[in-house]
């Protein structure tokens, strides 16, 4: 078969044209659509503190964002539904920082971590009035609650012996699961941050607020930390920047305003004071 120059030129132009057409109808989804991130931090979804379901990703996320903005630093918060993914990024990819109050670290692991408190939570013990119509109160003594099941988070593991000596069975779970256990009658009372209780009572249509009550047991403010990784090249520097930023927004009143906005409380002085003290060198 013989080809003259015109035929070959035609074939060549045809190939070019076909290539153009093929590109025009090519895949619409490309790697370039994936977003680059800066100073990426990882958190486990825990509404209303950190969550994609809450405006501005929740109280803790808002505080971190405001503090970093105060020191002109950008960061990205990636929120996962499971602790396993957050620990993966911390341990295997030396993530800059993580936020999840349920991760437990060994003493050895803690040596490479920097804990920066961002918020002090008030916690309460609550029970179901449907189950305890006459009320459920410790009367100041744990032994009065002997034989009951107490749902709490793992950070209380260290205090396990106190409850066990009082004859109280401990059930550990995350906030949302604890609340569901309380509703299902699987535990008699639980301890949770007030903000989390309010959020769940507002968002769970299957329960009514008036069916739950707070026990008359005093609790202390509990710090919520973001944990920076010294093994990340920017870990220590970013922890320091966050502390600086927190100091700035504490001083200019922005921190107190954020607390008031999320907590719906006018008096946030105790929480502000607690964070101010904890940031002292």
């Amino acid at each position: 078969m013989k080809y003259n120059n015109k035929t070959l030129l035609g074939l060549f132009l045809g190939m070019l044209f076909m290539t153009e057409l093929a590109m025009a109808t090519g895949p619409r989804v490309t790697q370039s659509m994936l977003v680059e991130t800066e100073n990426e931090m990882y958190a486990v979804d825990a509404p209303p503190f950190v969550s994609l379901d809450v405006a501005e990703n929740g109280l803790s996320a808002s505080i971190v964002n405001a503090a970093l903005k105060a020191v002109e630093t950008k960061a990205t918060l990636t929120i996962f539904p499971v602790t396993k993914m957050v620990t993966y990024y911390l341990n295997e990819e030396q993530a800059l920082a993580v936020y999840d109050e349920y991760i437990s670290f060994s003493e050895d692991e803690k040596k490479s971590l920097i804990y920066v408190p961002v918020f002090y939570a008030k916690e309460s013990y609550i029970y179901s009035k449907l189950r305890y119509k006459e009320g459920l109160n410790g009367q100041g003594s744990l032994s009065d609650l002997s034989g009951l099941k107490y749902g709490t988070h793992r950070s209380e593991k260290q205090a396990r012996s106190i409850y066990e000596e009082a004859g109280i069975e401990l059930v550990f779970a995350r906030h949302y699961a604890l609340f569901n256990k309380l509703v299902a009658g699987e535990v008699d009372f639980i301890k949770m941050p007030d903000l989390a209780i309010s959020w769940m009572l507002e968002h769970d249509n299957s329960v009514q607020k008036e069916h739950f009550s707070t026990m008359d047991i005093s609790t202390q403010l509990v710090p919520k930390f973001i944990v920076f990784n010294k093994n990340n090249p920017d870990g220590e520097k970013m922890a320091q920047k966050l502390k600086q930023g927190l100091s700035i927004i504490l001083e200019n009143g922005q921190y107190a305003e954020l607390l008031k906005k999320y907590l719906h409380e006018d008096d946030v002085n105790e929480r502000v004071k607690s964070l101010t003290q904890s940031l002292q060198p």
């Binding site: 895949p27 619409r28 989804v29 490309t30 790697q31 659509m33 994936l34 977003v35 991130t37 979804d45 994609l52 379901d53 990636t78 929120i79 996962f80 539904p81 499971v82 602790t83 396993k84 993914m85 993966y88 990024y89 341990n91 295997e92 990819e93 299957s206």
Partner: protein, 441 residues
Amino acid sequence: MNMLMKFFIMLFFLVILPVNAQDYDMVSPESVGLSSERLQRLDKLLNDHVAEEKIAGSVVLVARDGKLVSVQETGLADIGKPMKKDTIFRIVSMTKPITSTAIMLLYEEGKLLLSDPVSKYIPEFKNQKVVEMLPEGSDSKYKLVPAKREVTIHDLLTHQSGILYLASTGWFPNPKREQVVSFYREAGITDGFCRPDESIGDMVKRLGRLPLYDHPGEVWEYGLSVDVLGYLVEVVSGMKFDQYVQTRIFEPLKMTDSHFYIPEEKLDRLAADWNTDWKGSLTRVTGPLINGDLALCPNDAYETSGKYLSGGANVLSTAYDYFRFAQMFLNKGELDGVRLLSRKTVELMTATNHIGEHDATLLHSHGWKFGLGFAIQEDRSHGVDSGDIGVFEWAGYYSTRFSVNPKEKMVTIFLSQTSPFGAHFGLWDKIMALSTSTIAD
């Protein structure tokens, strides 16, 4: 005619006739080129299975040229309750073609493109990661790598997203699958065979932030992809998923006995689920069936309302209703003067080249491809004999199956409620073979 007589005649038309609505408009097999005698072989097959207590009961429907030829009920729907033509069944994964149709309706309205990334509508699907296992002896068992591209709506329709079913750890166990499912377990993801007390959106938004089993488009993996599509229908249409399906599919097709949650007045028409050892021991299922990561709650179907709307497993239906759905596809998108989908959309859904070199081997063997909602027979070089090239079909976990043969213009539907799933492939294949063998023209 006196007033009393008029009253009784009116009562007859108002009350008695609707009760017998299961007396469908049927034609003789011979009038559409099928053999009555051969059709009896199908009846005998099911009667024998019931007599041997391998299954409790079933309904088999055969139609050709858009005409109902046979709707044969056999055995029991429940203890002391005979199977009826209009018994309601958990069709489980036969929900998936309905959900896919809902997506294609939105596609036809220009509200989405199959090539759209899912993250365009559900932001949680942005920046997904894929699990890669590391060699033995490595410090970590696995690493998470960025997906080469985003999951598209087409990936979800064709099960090429890399999203799994938890239960797949039992079907095809391997360390990577176990690793992915361990994330699912911690995140409280379920397969939707039990109805969790949460909305489909809550579940899908968590699922979107978990790692994929493989890169989108590089795998065929039957899983929760269609549940994601159910939520996508809500996001794009602005309607609850069940309402959308009700008004856009069930009502136009007059599928009056198809529901996400059964109406209270139809509870006594719902078939029970039965456990069989396939050797004559048959027991009615009274509680959840849990086997590893497989969690089935057949009795959740008795709930008359709930939050969860699974696009992959939720629907309850009858043989006649599903026939109307299948016949719409056979008619290239139209039924009884109502056009649901365009001919071109049906041709797109039933095309065999959606999954490239992969095969849809979960229900079938090699030679079957996957369209937009169901498996399609591409060639005859496989071990399952159920008809012609171009046949499309899918099945449900409690032993239900439908098959549409465009060449012969036939629809075959088999509905039973029997566990476990894996034991029924032989029976299904025989039903399809016998149904096809009734062709006598």
